[in-house]
Symmetry: C2
Subunit: 406 residues, 2 copies
């Protein structure tokens, strides 16, 4: 994972992050543009209450699985804003499309920020008009984008990978936003990835869904989805590789792996940005009958309030972990389970076939003082595994989230 | 709801609550006995990890829907205890059945307390042997039972209702345990109800499931079920009424309503016993297409960490409530929704058809200082409604749950 290169190192990608005035003192408008129309795939929030830009972007992507620009404002989520909000999102699309001379349907639009506030259409549209000519492939422009999509985040989240396919270097860069634990008024999770790979739209969509299931869907942000969540990927083909058009193409497997790598990197950065959290926790469930079951168990454990408070208290409370597994909605036999907890370097076994081991509790408590801890569960019913990432639940979290005012 | 009468005022019911030594200084063994075999119904935890007594009791109740005694120990949950625990639960059943000279299958056995600790079979069996001759219909004995099933609870939970059917006074009493918010190592929720009504077993089962869905299943205790949860009801027929054997019998409707009343009373007491909680919150969703949908929305709102922290902060944060509804897994149109919040006396409308009202925020914040607050949501898509009860999420809750040590 390169930290120096960013989305601007993808062939044909220019971008800009600007300050329009919706947020005071911070950049709040991001535009990511591909010189040529790109294959596009996106996944959207499962929440039944969806922001206006989510509705529009889904329609645009579904139309022909192509797009050429992503435009995103921060500071106002354009959710629960009714007709006024819909018109605002449409104005963002129209202005962007006209200035870039592309079809409206090739615009992906996103918003993040407060919900239920009237949408500041005028400021945002003026911001697009005044900044679109600044689109640049300078590394700085990529950083501006990563900063311009933030809300309560405390740092910008970027990632970049490169790999070889068909004898050609393929570039892929991404940005994300989202804060792990503190999210006043349901802070949005956004992820935008661009690559110069040439790939069939349907395969791009398939790879995205595969990777989101193993990355963004495996981090726990209070177990809730927001009104605005969106992950979109554009593949503009400017690398000039022989187009990937079959799942059996080795290039597809490499791409999927690399996409998974960048999305997982971004997802873990989101978890790391939990201001109210004192720990980053990695969960692994292995030797499961299916990967889907393993992931369900990871989600059940990492979402459990009781597990999260135990981790805050540096308590290897296996009873809470086993009980959370029992609530995962799948068949689960605790009598076969081995459980290990520890820090990033050392794991200690606390359960053997469901029975507590005679382990050194003080030593384990010492390991759990670390800010990066691990929980590993072996089901011993198969060969599959799943991983996920979460935080602890702290008194700070409750304080931060209770003092927020509508 | 009478607070003076208790389970001992049900015809043919005797009971005792004793101290066996499993818990220091507190009563920890309860026996509730019916002079004659009774119709029995019970519901058990949905958790896939189930305590040994849960397995046994379910088998016994399913066999012929009859039972004559409930025996319950506190201090050790007999969960994740393996073969040793199974033998312990069976010893409880065998001892009780032999001393009362009834079939083993007519014994309902329950446990609550720490999980994963070896079961103290000897102490519990000795306790049964030493106390069974004390079974009494004295009011005091009923209180002893209510106290003997407690673990982290701070007060005993009892309820009693009477009603007339077929010209006869019918008595029904119940006890429960469970602490609303603090439950180190997943404190169990138990409920035991006895009545002298004569009713068909299948109808008793039906009424119990109907009522549990509207009472115990509508309180939020971290959204988790424990390994030991159980609600059982015995109807011994000693009132001598004409046996209720049809759902159309007006007596069935009255009974179901009264059972619902007593279970709701007990469930609300459990929520009230949240040591870490600063507020008791009543949620109502009305004008819904179906009662099931209304209840799903109530559960989604009352389980939301963000809603619970907002309530702790006295923040009428409608955005979090709407977002929680969007996550309830049902169709939900926020554009039709009216939302009201307030204390037990006064409600203030904060949303009208999904749009924020211009309400006095300081006045609402003042209402939310109360320890009993209300959240009412009108969906405006039908005529059905649902209610539920929960607590806020406080810094104290996190502290209490993180200092607990395995």
């Amino acid at each position: 994972m390169s930290m120096i290169k960013n989305i601007t190192n993808v062939r044909g990608i220019t971008c800009w992050g600007a300050h329009t005035g919706v947020k005071s003192m911070r950049r709040d408008l991001a535009i990511i543009y591909s010189e040529v129309p790109a294959a596009a795939a996106a996944v959207f929030t499962q929440n039944k209450v969806r922001a206006e830009p989510v509705e529009i972007s889904e329609k645009h992507v579904n139309l022909n699985n192509r797009a050429q620009v992503i435009v995103c404002n921060a500071g106002n989520a354009n959710a629960c804003t009714g007709e006024q909000g819909r018109q605002g999102a449409e104005a963002m699309v129209k202005t962007t499309a006209e200035l870039l001379n592309i079809p409206k349907e090739d615009v992906i639009v996103a918003s993040t920020g407060l919900i239920g506030e009237p949408f500041p259409t005028e400021d945002v549209v003026k911001g697009i008009e005044e900044n679109i000519h600044k689109l640049s492939d300078n590394t700085k422009a990529g950083s501006f984008v990563a900063n311009a999509i933030l809300t309560t985040d405390t740092f910008a989240k970027e990632g970049f990978v490169e790999f070889e396919h068909d004898g050609i270097r393929i570039n892929m860069g991404g940005v994300a936003k989202g804060s792990g634990m503190i999210h006043p008024n349901m802070a949005t999770m956004l992820g935008f990835v661009v690559t110069d790979l040439d790939i069939d739209e349907k395969l791009l969509d398939k790879a995205l869904r595969y990777s989101v299931d193993r990355s963004f869907n495996m981090i726990t942000v209070d177990g809730d989805t927001s009104t605005n969540d969106m992950v979109a990927v554009l593949a503009n083909g400017l690398a000039g590789n022989k187009k990937i058009s079959s799942e059996k193409d080795p290039g597809y497997i490499i791409f999927r792996e690399k996409l998974n790598e960048i999305l997982t990197h971004l997802a873990k950065l989101i978890v790391s940005d939990g201001e109210g959290a004192s720990k980053f926790i990695e969960y692994k469930v292995s030797k499961a009958r299916s990967a889907e079951n393993a992931r369900k168990l990871v989600r059940a454990i990492s979402d459990s309030t009781l597990v999260k408070t135990a981790m805050f208290g540096r308590d290897p409370n296996w009873g809470r972990i086993i009980a959370a597994c029992g609530n995962a909605g799948i068949n689960f036999n605790y009598k076969k389970v081995n459980l290990f907890v520890g820090d990033k370097d050392k794991l200690v076994q606390v359960l053997e076939k469901g029975q507590p081991m005679d382990f050194d509790k003080n030593f384990v408590k010492k390991l759990l003082r670390d800010s990066h801890i691990r929980v590993n569960l072996e089901l011993n019913t198969g060969q599959e595994s799943g991983m996920g990432w979460g935080t602890d639940l702290t008194t700070d979290y409750v304080m931060f989230n209770s003092v927020y005012t509508t």
